[in-house]
Symmetry: C2
Subunit: 338 residues, 2 copies
């Protein structure tokens, strides 16, 4: 029997439409069940995330949270991108000292600039937080907002990370990109809450993470409005306005976001207060830390590291119900493909 | 001929489907042409707004702006709600002094508290900005973020404005609510950028204007993270962190939003710098001021007013291309229905 003849038989037409209906249901359920976090291995961390998102988005759940209150905050250095062996923004500041040196002959005799220009990193390190702040102020202020943005963008577009020989903005964590997408698809607003400079991060946050500038919270310098050559501009001043780190993180969240997060993700003891503040809210909450355990694919560091120290948080995690994400075990993939 | 017979005639069926198609097109064009700003009278201001929004959202326009860059900022007092004869937040502070007086016996002899408690507003006024700041600090700090939010919400829910005998949150401008909706429907992000307290405004911005807390930029006090009785809380400190007024507005926009607005709306000389900063960006921009000209439906005040002084901006508007919205002439309606 030819197909066209078959088609005209009403019983067969009925079978066909039944088959189409089943196929449609099957396709829908497949699309529903598709793994939203394909770069996360099965395990406690992934389960905790999926369970949490289901619980707060299911209208019939006792843990349901209105979309407006679905605030998720992420640290940046070591949580969304590589921070080891040195914070990217510090490397930017160092490079900028070298670039600006011809205009600053005084740096030849002034520490820590002298040491930095001579490659004597031991002396730079010995200058401590005071020395680092002098370097940051000298390289992050005294220009307009637009000029600073261009400096950062140009540097990020041309500077490769030493170990991976890739741009820093390519050394972002694929599992976290999936998590950010998954949260946004479930009505969350995603924020960066980082000790890094707010203006530094805003140059790449939208392109790298899909996080718009107004959803970036960070440290800042004082800024001034000036009319320069008849043109209104913002000029960055050599004075700290706010340090968005440690106990500063909940404060930054309060001042900038105005709502307590229901999910917070960090990677170091500097994130403890943000996680504490998040977890102390009413209803179901989720607090997570990335534990850098993967010497091969990224880096391995924690309790004794000079950057991203993860020590007290590791001790407290079990008792507090914080989730420790083991990079080696929990992440199928670390970075996006080239 | 019966209708059923008519229906079976193929020529008539053709006519019917033609009619349905025309009706559909008509309904679509009606919905397209429906006035998005029904409480705005026809005139220069309304035309300028409609023209601007069309220009920046039409992909074929030379003035097209990507949705991500469609940032609109609105002053609050006098631009979105009533500010006359005294800023609402100042009235809140005055009422709070009275409420707190039993716990502050020292206020019986300490100015400007003594004068305020005795109803001697002339002496309160003579204490100037210094006196006002003392009152604000005494009433806006020393409590947790949650406690302050409750104080403000309770006061706003129970206190009537003197002239209109309505809650302050009902004395918001209907034409501006339509404009906010219209802008958001056209892909804009709408922000409040006001000299008012950020935490004060956040208690009602979402319900009153559809503007979420994280899209409110305002003045702030220093805040501290503390663990109090084992519970992590934010405590408001008696120290100004930032004054988001005059030249502070573009700075607040830079620090908080991180992008230059393409539309800004104010109502006083305190908004001049925000409008200057907005208009100085590249491409088409729109800057507007509400001019309070309606003694009958609201208030009439401008150059010599003690609140919301509109003087220099009126002089500069024509030359700078700023739009002056004449409340009496341009607004069909001032407040939403009861």
């Amino acid at each position: 029997m030819y197909l066209t003849q078959l088609m005209t038989q009403s019983r067969f037409r009925f079978l066909i439409s039944g088959f189409v209906a089943i196929l449609a249901v099957f396709l829908c359920s497949v699309s529903y069940a598709a793994d939203p976090l394909p770069s996360w291995n099965d395990g406690t961390a992934k389960e905790a995330i999926l369970y949490f998102v289901n619980a707060v988005t299911d209208k019939n759940s006792k843990d349901y949270v209105e979309p407006a209150e679905r605030i998720a905050t992420f640290d940046n250095d070591g949580t969304l991108w590589v921070e080891y062996p040195m914070y990217t923004q510090v490397l930017f500041a160092f490079d900028r000292v070298k670039k600006l040196a011809p205009q600053h002959p005084e740096w030849k005799i002034k520490q820590p600039f002298k040491a930095l220009l001579e490659g004597d990193m031991k002396t730079v390190g010995a200058s401590g937080m005071k020395g680092l702040m002098e370097i940051v102020m000298a390289t992050h202020s005294g220009m307009s907002a637009a000029e600073f943005e261009k400096e950062v963008s140009d540097w990020l577009a041309t500077t490769q990370q030493a170990k991976f020989k890739r741009l820093y903005t390519e050394l972002i964590y694929q599992p976290q990109l999936e998590l950010l997408d998954y949260l946004r698809a479930n009505g969350f607003k995603t924020f960066i809450v980082s000790g890094g400079g707010i203006a530094f991060m805003r140059t790449f946050s939208e392109k790298a993470y899909g996080i718009s500038p107004e959803q970036v919270v960070g440290s800042s310098v004082v800024a001034e409005f000036q009319v320069k050559d008849g043109k209104p501009v913002i000029i960055r001043q050599p004075k700290i306005a706010f340090i968005n780190d440690k106990a500063g993180k909940p404060v930054g969240i309060y001042q900038h976001i105005g709502r307590r997060p229901i999910l917070a993700f960090g990677n170091s003891d500097s994130d403890i207060q943000m996680i504490e503040y998040t977890m102390a809210g009413e209803g179901r909450r989720l607090g997570l830390f990335v534990h850098h355990t993967d010497e091969e694919r990224e880096y391995s560091y924690d309790r004794k590291s000079h950057v991203g120290t993860l020590d007290k948080a590791l001790d407290r995690a079990a008792a507090e119900g914080w989730i420790i994400v083991d990079m080696k075990k929990d992440w199928k993939k670390v970075f996006p493909e080239n």
